[in-house]
Symmetry: C2
Subunit: 295 residues, 2 copies
Amino acid sequence: MNPIQRVAIVGGTHGNEFTGAYLVKKFEQHPNLIQRSSFETLTVFGNPQAFAAATRYIDEDLNRCFLMQDLQNADLSSYEAQRAKAIAQLLGPKGNAQVDVLVDLHSTTANMGLSLLLSARNSASLQLASHLSTINPLVKVCWTHPHPESMLLRSLCEVGIVIEVGPVAQGVLDAQWFQKTEELVHAILDYLEACNRGMTPLMQSPLTLYEFIGTIDYPRNSLGEIQAMVHPLLQGKDYEPLHPGDPVFLTLEGETIPYQGDNTVYPAFINEAAYYEKGIAMCLTQKQLITLENL
Amino acid sequence: MNPIQRVAIVGGTHGNEFTGAYLVKKFEQHPNLIQRSSFETLTVFGNPQAFAAATRYIDEDLNRCFLMQDLQNADLSSYEAQRAKAIAQLLGPKGNAQVDVLVDLHSTTANMGLSLLLSARNSASLQLASHLSTINPLVKVCWTHPHPESMLLRSLCEVGIVIEVGPVAQGVLDAQWFQKTEELVHAILDYLEACNRGMTPLMQSPLTLYEFIGTIDYPRNSLGEIQAMVHPLLQGKDYEPLHPGDPVFLTLEGETIPYQGDNTVYPAFINEAAYYEKGIAMCLTQKQLITLENL
């Protein structure tokens, strides 16, 4: 990894995800906590108006406003489009960011523990993720195929990482997740400091990586109304294997719907509140073991 | 209890409390499930627009719109004021309701299990609550001092009961809570049917009643910003004793704030998402044992 000069910690990208929002507020008030001697750490509060209203967003999802062409489109004037441009000006531009590492703090109603979502499968991101999952076995590492254009805030930066913690209800500040997220942020900063000093910790390979391969929506009727719930046997079972034929939904009338895929998958974001409107009941991942020597 | 002629089941009073909303949708589609031979059962979907937007309310909290004077005030025209008037026309008027029993289905982010909130401490409500807590020990029974004027939907009816289940995140349909709530609704209907047939079950007294005596807000600064979280040792401990000096909050900086009251209390609605804006971190209750013979 090249020397790290600037790191950004973003919270409150979604206004009702209080863990990251209050953590950034704490860091703003006590900047010494996130300073390290070899690099500068910035904080960004993503969506102040949505936070004030305790809602995910005002006009549209801020974390879907970072398409390059949208950032360059002066006609887009929603509150979140404006916030995205302001944040891109502060941290970007895409492909040539002013920060070397970007950590975006989120929470989820799904039972995802301490999840890291990586934008890119580059060596720097994977080394960091491997380190964090080695020192804390509760850390899970997810990765999405890189789109040529990503809408996500974390795509501003080559080493863009989301910390996704849960289960936490929207609009709730949970002390335990607040503390665990803070510990993880400190572990990231300490790791980057060690890298800068040439003391990169030796990694225990292999790294377990959950690669996003698709999504499943709730069964709906022709009006789009939900007809079935996540099955009680699947609820809360993020990152556990879902085999063909396993229960995946339960209709309101009590009928079990089995998983119809051909292969075992590992669901994540199971029953995430914010994804109902996106037509996503869960994301599916493939579990991979990656040998870091091969990076 | 006088013969029951009509029972109302209300769901979706808060648009992001999906358990009751989807249960009423199910009952609307399968009305036979809630019919009993000796009385009529109606369903009411409280706040359709808020449900469509997956938010608690559009303009204001519908469950605070049932003051008699507000129901009679033609100048109040918010969406929820209009819904309250429509619901009062269907089920009310207050003091002379068209239904004998009203069950309003809610959910909470607090760990309140299967809670019954009673409007009035009348014999009919207590007998019903006692029966339900006898057949299901997970049922807790709460009671608020009767205000001469209540703002709550359940105050439309003398035997007005809220079922409050949780923890469930806002905007999430959780199959287990859906099923448990449905079972409880059936237990209520079956009990009322038995009463009408003169076969009222014998009650095991005493009944444990949690009487609301006040609320505590989060510690805030002069701008109203939250400075402390519910303490991890108290999170999820609804209905458990909180003694003077016990940890109640944890500041963002990690300092424990003890409970300053003089007496042991039993908190409920601990860290309920919807109560942040109401200035309520938790409700306090006193635990009472009531001998039903004395009713």
